[in-house]
């Protein structure tokens, strides 16, 4: 079979491109540690969130050294807690669920972005660094007030976080 020289070049370059794309994603997974939003959390009763130990009182709590869990409820048309306050330079795992319809959970301008499905818990872990105020929006149409459904994720300094939590008016 005769293959034109140009075609051989193109075939070789195509294979290299594929290897480069696969290599990039592999690098992302082992280098920066990019992972998927987890769906391993068991299903819960979206109508009984007020009896759920994690979601009856949406909050941020410390679960390890420098590790925090944020239990977030999305409902028409708000996020609870609001704002979500977490300390800087820590690892935060968001557990997000919906009390009514499908919502979105998007920390604006970042890669933290998940669907929020009633009965399911979306789990995503991120590392937060410097103190900063992020916007939080719903990016799945959820009803007449969808466009006003927003919250805040406030990354505050460790000292300020301790002030807030020990002051009793945290969250």
């Amino acid at each position: 079979m005769h293959i034109h020289a140009y075609e051989k070049i193109w075939l070789a370059v195509s294979v290299l491109l594929i290897l480069f794309l696969i290599g990039s994603v592999t690098y992302g997974a082992v280098g920066p540690g990019v992972a998927m939003v987890s769906d391993t959390e068991p299903a819960i009763d979206s109508g009984g969130l007020d009896e759920d130990e994690r979601f009856s009182e949406p909050r941020v709590e410390q679960v390890g050294e420098n590790e925090y869990a944020a239990y977030v409820v999305a409902r028409q048309f708000t996020f609870q807690p609001d704002p979500i306050v977490v300390p800087a330079n820590s690892t935060v795992t968001f557990y997000v669920t919906s009390a009514d319809v499908i919502h979105g959970f998007e920390v604006v301008g970042t890669n933290a972005n998940a669907m929020v499905v009633p009965g399911e818990v979306s789990e995503l872990t991120v590392k937060v660094e410097e103190p900063q105020e992020y916007g939080l929006i719903c990016n799945e149409y959820c009803g007449a007030g969808h466009h006003v459904m927003e919250g805040k994720v406030n990354v505050v300094s460790q000292a300020e976080y301790e002030d807030r939590t020990s002051g009793g008016d945290g969250e």
Binding site: H2, H4, Y6, I9, W10, L17, P32, M36, S38
Partner: protein, 50 residues
């Protein structure tokens, strides 16, 4: 040249313009990918790690 080729014309067919065009597309593709993945995606805050 073996006997089953259609004619000698295939050897003279050197579409250098097409090759160049494909080369340019390829470079655009690679640069776009580098930009989208390494700069826009990995460069943003709050990379999901678990």
């Amino acid at each position: 040249m073996s006997g089953d080729t259609v004619s000698g014309d295939t050897e003279e067919f050197d579409p250098i313009g097409t090759l160049t065009l494909i080369g340019i597309y390829f470079v655009i593709l690679v640069l776009s990918w580098v930009y989208i993945y390494y700069i826009e995606f990995l460069g943003r805050d709050l990379v999901v790690v678990g």
